[in-house]
Symmetry: C2
Subunit: 169 residues, 2 copies
């Protein structure tokens, strides 16, 4: 298989995947493109290779930089900005996890911990008990999940890698 086809297959798949990971398709595709490019690419390059508009390229490159997955690079004697992606997958995973935790864990933590503090009133005692139990269980669970994810985000690659791999054995 020639390089172009292989790249395209990868970019295509990574794009689809990304959209299921809650990351938009173009953002994942740009990320994929930069991951498999030896050189940093300009916005123009990205637009051409993925057939997307200037606005779309710009927006998603910025988002990738916000996430810390992509970095700008200035080449001396050239006014264009060039972009490249970090290739360390554990780093990539950590950065994606960080962003997703913000969106997926923190909000539920907040609501659940708030509800836990409330004194629930009402006539149906059974229903109140069911509600409080669920909230209590959920609170425990979410707080634990959050701690684990936090550990992952902050841990250095090797330690976490080794520890987890021991689990799997």
């Amino acid at each position: 298989m020639n390089l172009e086809d292989a790249k395209n297959k990868f970019i295509q798949s990574w794009g689809t995947l990304g959209s299921q990971w809650g990351i938009n398709r173009t953002m994942s595709q740009i990320h994929a493109l930069l991951l498999v490019s030896a050189e940093a690419l300009s916005a123009e390059d990205v637009m051409e290779q993925l057939n997307i508009s200037r606005g779309n390229a710009n927006m998603n490159l910025r988002a990738l930089m916000d996430w810390g997955l992509v970095t700008k690079e200035i080449k001396p004697g050239d006014r264009k900005e060039y972009f490249f992606a970090g290739k360390d997958m554990w780093e990539v995973a950590r950065k994606i996890t960080y962003e997703r935790r913000k969106r997926e864990i923190e909000p539920i933590l907040q609501v659940v911990n708030e509800l836990k503090k409330e004194n629930i009133t009402g006539k149906n005692k059974e229903e109140i008990a069911a509600f409080s139990d669920t909230i209590e269980e959920l609170s425990k669970f979410t707080n634990n999940a959050n701690s684990i994810v936090d550990k992952f985000i902050k841990s250095d690659e090797n330690w976490f890698y080794k520890t987890l791999m021991k689990l799997v054995k």
Copy 2:
């Protein structure tokens, strides 16, 4: 705060959250509603409490049953079907993880492992090397992630709970 308001707050939040977890809003809301109900509810009950159509209620209750998060219950002497949600959060997490792995990890595994086997041809050797390195790293990473998730899905609650909690300390 009275029970109704607390329930609604929870259902609302769980719904929004779910949509960020790649689960559709109504599906999460129904799940939340059943999680905090002491009794099993009929499709009619669900429609009323969430203000959704019959079709929507039906579709999403079925999806929840496919995921194994909700179970049908027949009450003797009643032709309606009643639905209730399992309250064990580790079980819930395992089931959601199982479904999400199918969507989020398996497809990338397949593509990456396929690409890894290919013999990439082309003139730019540097580009080929960059591509192969990325795929190789990604393959290692994804396969490891998959093993860990698999372990989680199959593990019994206590073992995994204890092991993970030790990590966090």
